[in-house]
Symmetry: C2
Subunit: 375 residues, 2 copies
């Protein structure tokens, strides 16, 4: 039986190279996890996600509990079987979507009561129910329920939410029980306040988890405050466990966060922005809806192994996006997921070869210079 | 240099088995041509279209002349290069969309003047310009400009449009000139009136084309009148040239029309209905949005070679469609294109083996009985 584990292979400065082992396979870290919100990485076939180099994808507890429902997914053989993905799956706890999507919500000591954004039906999400749902889905990494705050908020609000999240962490941990090959992650909260983040991390360490996430960032505080917060939070987390920065981010955010000791990321940005015409490539970002692409016969990146980047002209993708065609959204979502994975592979190789700092500088330089300045 | 040609290999009753040879490859007939409206078969990668068994796809002159523009496509290397399809492409003349989509239109002896449905810009489409556009696109089969009528219409209106279409046919033929490996098709008009259809076919024969299309059907007249019209029109067309029934149709329409001597078809139905949840399979049609599929773990057709039909559960596709996910539309569009091609392959094999009538009966019986009555 596979035991859930994390191996830290080496560090390069504060950047870390490792492997998370789960029931459904290994996750090479630093890892970017494409988001499969309702059981699909929007606009992609899962074969494409796998081939792009992703080891793990994410599912959203909030979305899946509303539709089709956790018990229904369990009856259909669990989330892996339902969606046709045999690698690791991480599920969040639903806390973030309760804050950002639910119509009416009430947070008590017991948990969250909210109305579905789909049909207004009333649901209760407690720490125990969040774990129950994730066990029914069969996910490999299960997140504790936490209370997420909108930004900005006061320190007092942040402290209250952090303390509640800590109490929920203890209940989540108990509810998780023992699930060989699967891991349970606690979530550090506390806004951008160093004292609160330290207290949150200490509380979670006392409970003990297979991994630790940093939540409540990338909600509007800006990159500078986010990076500062990571800088004083990451050292508070056990070095022998994976560290997951939730909901982040841009390619630059990934580089900067890896440099500060983060191992795992997830974000809807590559697929969401792809659906709106934006491409992320080695040469920086560009919006394919812009008129300058209309007569450009070049692919986005002729040297990429991903067909979405190397086989379709910018003129064609521009035409598809302007025409509102599904294929335009499909291609750019695929291209972005592929570039994100290529970036993570570059990061992992650079750490292995003790040249992460150089890699970071060259990558940023390349984004800035664009194609004219191919390095 | 490849010469455009049609070989009629054999007949089985009135059904015909043949091959259309073009500059970009052969088309096995009877053939169903997926519609690539603006340069994409909606929701599919062209690799999937090819693998499903399609030899030829269709492009719409009206759409492509408005965006990106025929001259722009030519500058980008022609339609084949622009969209990444190296097989045959048939383009229509734009006549049908001028009738169905353009905002304001005026038909004169000279041609059609209309306003774009996208931005209201004014365009003129003459028989000569329609051929010019299709040459710029580089299509392998180029259709004459014709005047399409809405249904219902009077015989007098039908006659007037048919006569104008005949005069346009002569001008189209002249404008087509000589293009080795490429073919020019005339279009029979005349509503559901036998005399008008005969006169139209006779006029086109006198001009002489590489192939003949039957236009103006499947516009609301109903299947019975459509089949009657095919029955008295097809025999008027030269046996040694391909016959193309435009804009048709359902799987049953295809069977019935092949039985009446038709060789080529195109229709948006498999992709459009796929985007709305409808699947066509060996077992008939079903809408995946229906609640009955919610907990059904079976694929649409376990024995199909197409992953969209054999690898995804109905429950999952149902969930995707209810959730408004791109992947649901992608899978059902793919499944339908695959089934249409499987049907055409079945038709071709049956004609080759002199059992088309039996194949037709068994296929319809299977649609009616559904899965319970697997033959």
């Amino acid at each position: 039986m596979t035991e859930f584990s994390f191996s830290l292979h080496k560090t390069d400065g504060t950047a870390r190279l490792g492997t998370v082992r789960t029931l459904h396979g290994d996750i090479r870290t630093p890892a970017f996890m494409p988001v499969g919100t309702v059981g699909t990485v929007k606009g992609l076939y899962l074969d494409q996600v796998k081939e792009a180099g992703a080891d793990v994808i994410l599912g959203n507890t909030y979305h899946l509990m509303l539709r089709p429902g956790a018990e229904e997914v369990a009856k259909l053989g669990g989330l892996h079987n339902f969606i046709g993905w045999d690698g690791p799956i991480l599920t969040d706890s639903g806390g973030f979507q309760v804050m950002s999507l639910a119509k009416i919500r009430k947070i008590t000591e017991q948990g969250a009561v909210f109305q579905s954004h789909i049909d207004g039906r009333r649901y209760e999400l407690t720490p125990e129910r969040a774990m129950d749902i994730q066990r029914l889905l069969g996910s490999d990494i299960q997140m504790q329920l936490d209370q997420c705050l909108e930004y900005p908020h006061t320190d007092k609000e942040a402290e209250k939410a952090m303390q509640l999240s800590l109490r929920w962490a203890a209940r989540s941990r108990k509810a998780f029980g023992t699930q060989p090959g699967r891991g349970n992650f606690g979530i550090v909260q506390g806004g951008v306040n160093e004292g609160l983040r330290r207290a949150s991390a200490a509380g979670l360490r006392d409970i003990g988890f297979e991994g630790y996430a940093i939540g409540g960032l990338a909600v509007g505080e800006g990159q500078k405050l986010m990076l500062q917060t990571i800088e004083f939070t990451a050292p508070e987390l056990p070095a022998d466990k994976p560290r997951y920065l939730m909901g982040v981010g841009t390619p630059e955010d990934l580089l900067e966060s890896v440099a500060r000791g983060i191992d795992m990321f997830d974000c809807v940005l590559p697929t969401r922005s792809g659906r709106h015409g934006q491409a992320f490539t080695r040469f920086g970002k560009t919006n394919l809806r812009n008129a300058k692409h209309a007569d450009d016969p070049r692919p986005l990146d002729a040297e990429s192994v991903c067909p979405a980047l190397s086989k379709y002209s910018r003129a064609y993708i521009h035409h598809l996006m302007r025409s509102g065609e599904l294929l335009g959204m499909m291609l750019l979502s695929w291209a972005n997921i592929a570039y994100y994975q290529e970036l993570m592979q570059g990061i992992r190789t650079a750490i292995a070869e003790d040249r992460f700092e150089e890699f970071q500088a060259l990558t940023k330089e390349q984004w800035k210079r664009g194609e004219a300045g191919m390095l």
